[in-house]
Point group: C2
Amino acid sequence: MLIVKKFGGSSVADAERVMNVARIVTDSYREGHEVVVVVSAQGDTTDDLIAKAREIDPNANKREMDMLLASGEQISISLLAMACEKLGCPAISLLGWQAGFRTDSKYSVARIKKVKAERIRAELDKKKIVIVAGFQGLNKYDDVTTLGRGGSDTSAVAIAASMHADLCQIYTDVEGVYTADPRKVPNARKLSEITHDEMLELATLGAQVLNNRSVEMAKKYGIELEVLSSLKKAPGTKVKEVTNVEKMLITGVAKDTSIARIEIVGLPDSPGVAFKVFALVAQAHVNVDIILQSVGRDGTKDISFTVPENDGAKTVEAIREYCERKGATSINCDTDLAKVSVVGAGMETHEGVASKMFEALADANINIQTISTSEIKISVLIDRKDADRAVLSVHDKFFDNED
Amino acid sequence: MLIVKKFGGSSVADAERVMNVARIVTDSYREGHEVVVVVSAQGDTTDDLIAKAREIDPNANKREMDMLLASGEQISISLLAMACEKLGCPAISLLGWQAGFRTDSKYSVARIKKVKAERIRAELDKKKIVIVAGFQGLNKYDDVTTLGRGGSDTSAVAIAASMHADLCQIYTDVEGVYTADPRKVPNARKLSEITHDEMLELATLGAQVLNNRSVEMAKKYGIELEVLSSLKKAPGTKVKEVTNVEKMLITGVAKDTSIARIEIVGLPDSPGVAFKVFALVAQAHVNVDIILQSVGRDGTKDISFTVPENDGAKTVEAIREYCERKGATSINCDTDLAKVSVVGAGMETHEGVASKMFEALADANINIQTISTSEIKISVLIDRKDADRAVLSVHDKFFDNED
């Protein structure tokens, strides 16, 4: 089998952990598999490098930031290759560009255009374990780019897709995907299987087990993922197109406390106004989530929508001039909110999921501000201070009954 | 003018020093020069990376060591580029391979084969300060190589040679080349000019201001070097083919305390034996310095020679089997010695330099064990404990009279 294994920064944080990863990798190699390993930078390396740059210039040139940050994976891949060789298995490390990662030129958030995997293939044919720097690539100017946080997951899936790997294993510090955050919800259960769509909703909703671009890519190319622990040898959670387990009503409860709600009051109720607002937001490269539009007084309308918390100020900046010119009476950015969601392919064919969720929130005396639904997801906006209680109550409502 | 400037690791050790270097570089750029900067890894970065590797495997794969160590310069070049931009000048960092460094495949001690400087030229034409990672290149397999310690000097000279630069400035933590180590010899004087040959002898003899490969290359391509301080604005020492100052009798006194003497006693006095011994040493990639051969007892001969101290054990290993088979009665490795040398193009045309040196040593009651001479250098081996006293006495003898 051709297996791609990805290890995050905490899995290779020090020499001992690097050796631990090398053991997992060489065990798999000795079982006769072809093994490609994707590694992130060690532990806090990326944060340390960012701090170094900030000392010089808090708004450093993005090309140079990518050059700087890409050094982190260079360290971890070479150390892991040494560790595999120490354990008696031939290994070779490859930088993003050597492994054939070609990206667009959006420094710090580059997208993979293709993986020219000839070099990886050649090294596998020489019976080597191939260790690839995640998170990085090369643009058309032959300059180093990075994929942004969590990009190593995407690197792993991109290799799996381009080489038609049989399996892509994402090793993390948790044992798999849970019905809720196990640190917060004592009854949270590990799922043995989940569909890409469900995983995608969970990832998008703040359950940061997998980077969502990586899940999108895995779905598009039909790659089977497995999320498992690098510290404990146990089966993880398989993310696959069709799951064999009987469909659960919902697979998980997630919260996202890193959101901001933008509220614009008093826009004219005429065609094209909302379109223009969201066009401006898109130009600022901000992703909009839950949108609510309501009729205001005197032929005006109010628009509110959520964005990532970090983009809140930027979003207001992007729309202020237009909205004020159009007569808006206020533009607010509210960061006291959280989004709590239930996800599950099962809800497509079951009724009553929404009412059960609202009942759980009512039981906990939590006020719902906004509701948003899709085929396999129901999200609500609530006060941020109520988020953990909301997750607990909703989780209990759906999962305790099933025991 | 096209100027290449090289800064060592201590010159860019922290954010403050990086800004200091950026000021030197941008000042030169603002004067209208085209500036290419070569930088080493920050401060102790290389040592820290070596320590990381040793934790995993003290004898780590050399290809992977080069991959690991090359990350050090990646950090310093990007930080320096940010600092130059912060000061308002456009700058771009380039890795060894991006700057066109092609090397042979001897990992950890690679030699530069050529510098394809098209990218550097293109960035200069865009009016950018170009900041290049020293110490590293790419071999024919597209794998990262490093040039070995001090290799950044060589990187700088190689760029200067391939681009026909007008000047190559090597910034260090000293103010230039001195007649002796100023920390040890209070009367040591800074030289305003020195020839490549003199510099080469000084470098080879342990006065580690410049890497000797870089001086060899500068001599070969007729590159004018300048050694100067990155911390104090003052003229340094120019290293050029013909110096304008009246030739001094000697230009400097140097010591090398990192040597080992190998002694082989009782080899047969037959043709080809010495040749074979040195062939074995060469195969072990060890450089031999002072050789002494003497007649032993009963038709045997003794051979002694010096090697770098770190190579002592390896050298004995390389020759032991052959020497014992040939009947040698002992092979010793002696590390209690130091080499003290006087260097100066002036001695080619002056007599009495050797006797003056020996007189100085006799005055200090220091015993000479071995003597070696070349056109512009006289070296003696003495007890290592006497090395500092020897340098002081010899320096006084040659330089105090001239005042």
